[in-house]
Symmetry: C2
Subunit: 306 residues, 2 copies
């Protein structure tokens, strides 16, 4: 276990123009840990009820995800989200969000989780993200994700989180919302001034960029003829990114770039099917082949233009 992932573990019912899937495995920690499992040894901190299906546990175990930190509340019901997508599927519409056992969740880290060198603070209440940080003894790299809800309701707490992490991962709309600007370079600059080494701005089907104080790197999304279900794409990105970081001997610009590629590749697999169906059954070859195609898609030959 070299990567701690905290976030939601859920059961989802999802409808898209390409079909539906009921009571399937979901949640930010789930998507992220499965994506990360190809690169690192992740352990989850989260909570489910005792209604959580055995097959879900088995799938996570099969991917080598450490479940010591997954609290199982007896008599409780697992977080359930039901939602749908229309048209270009750029936005999720919620039908119902039953937090259930997640409502009173407080992350309790098993002893050896506290020494994990890599940490992904998935999208949960920033107060809980801070609780996790308070329990870590010697992290090498901390990545945090968030969402529009916390930017609106808990901007001060969220700022505290941003001040304490190494990498902030946020989408373009959220970055604009938090920083009060529609300019991504300005938003990135604002966030970098809070202290993180890098700011990752996700732009959905337009790709992703990573900003440092003196660096900028960008990747397109993998062009997919058919996107079936966008749920979990951001979490799979974050999991792939931090998982790949955990494989790097040195944490430098090249490592961040490889991390961005790993995240992009894992997000592209995620959206090709419902839930974790695609990401749970990959091989090293499939992942490396797609990474090679991604690399070719940004290969710019020598560029003295004039």
């Amino acid at each position: 276990m070299n990567l701690l992932i905290v976030g939601s573990v859920a059961v989802d019912s999802i409808e898209t123009p390409f079909g539906r899937a009921d009571n399937v495995l979901g949640g930010s920690a789930t998507y992220a840990s499965i994506a990360a499992s190809y690169f690192a040894s992740p352990g989850i901190v989260g909570v489910v009820g005792d209604d959580f299906a055995r097959k879900h546990i088995n799938l996570l175990k099969k991917r080598g995800v450490d479940l010591k930190g997954l609290q199982i509340e007896s008599g409780g019901k697992t977080f359930h989200w039901s939602g749908y997508y229309e048209g270009d599927m750029n936005q999720a519409h919620s039908r119902s969000t039953c937090l259930n056992v997640f409502e009173s969740f407080h992350p309790r880290l098993p002893e050896r989780y506290r020494r994990a060198p890599f940490v992904l603070l998935g999208n949960i209440h920033p107060a809980l993200q801070l609780e996790v940080l308070g329990q870590m003894t010697s992290p090498r790299l901390i990545l945090c994700d968030t969402m529009n809800l916390w930017i609106k309701t808990e901007p001060k707490l969220l700022e505290q989180v941003f001040r304490r992490v190494d990498v902030v991962c946020i989408n373009d709309g959220e970055a604009g919302q938090f920083c009060g600007t529609s300019s991504l370079p300005q938003a990135a600059d604002h966030l970098l001034r809070l202290g993180p080494r890098r700011v990752i701005i996700k732009r959905g089907s337009h790709g992703v960029s990573i900003f440092g104080r003196r660096s900028f790197f960008s990747l397109p999304a993998v062009p997919l003829p058919k996107v079936k279900d966008p749920t979990g794409a951001g979490d799979s990105f974050a999991g792939g990114f931090i998982g790949r970081m955990a494989r790097s001997r040195t944490i430098n610009e090249n490592a961040f770039r490889r991390g961005l590629a790993a995240g992009t590749v894992m997000a592209s697999f995620c959206v090709e099917d419902f839930s974790c169906r695609k990401t749970a059954g990959l091989t090293s070859k499939k992942i490396n082949d797609r990474a090679a195609a991604l690399k070719e898609s940004v290969r710019l030959p020598a560029v003295d233009l004039i």
Copy 2:
């Protein structure tokens, strides 16, 4: 003269959150030819009235733009556009569009223009674009641009244009509108089936992608802390692209990629100031330096991820 550019030559009055500029040089052929002039020898086909200021003529001449094909209607008034941008400046709002001499414009190509190997059909009525094609004797590469108006009012004529050009240049919203899909890979596939070798899809501040039947390449926009006026960005892109193509001995994938870089660089300079103020006064060094920064921003190290 190795590059024919047909389009509008105009006088603009523009207001953005960062200032205003009245009666400045504008028009698609203007922006495109200035951008192209750093890479090729462009000649313009367009029309102005005899009110068109001498300083505008001089600026184009200074950039080496051949004006043999610029018709000057005596007693006529030049095309004038007045508009403004708000907020994130993603959309231009027109205050007035006075076509004036442009309303009855028909492109008449001087003899030597007909033999130009490279052609940019700027955004004008597709019937006029076809008139130009009918006058060309032996083009090596034809690029066409268009806009939402023609997609809505002249889809059949526009399709005829797409069938006869080598490269279609279109923005993401327009591609979706023409092809009836929100998926860019699907839209690109639809357009490629009409016959062009490549389809360029512009995504504004998200960058640009070029699709071939078996190729895909993408570049981010240059991250700029301050965008002053987005007018002419698309035209400067098209001009930079086709200008750089005209420098390539062989028209292959690498040439297209360099063209995309040149277009991206020229568009980034364009938006840094009103009108052609920035693009008219560049140097090879400034252009090459920005191209080098762009290349670095997509440099992905070896990517066997696992």
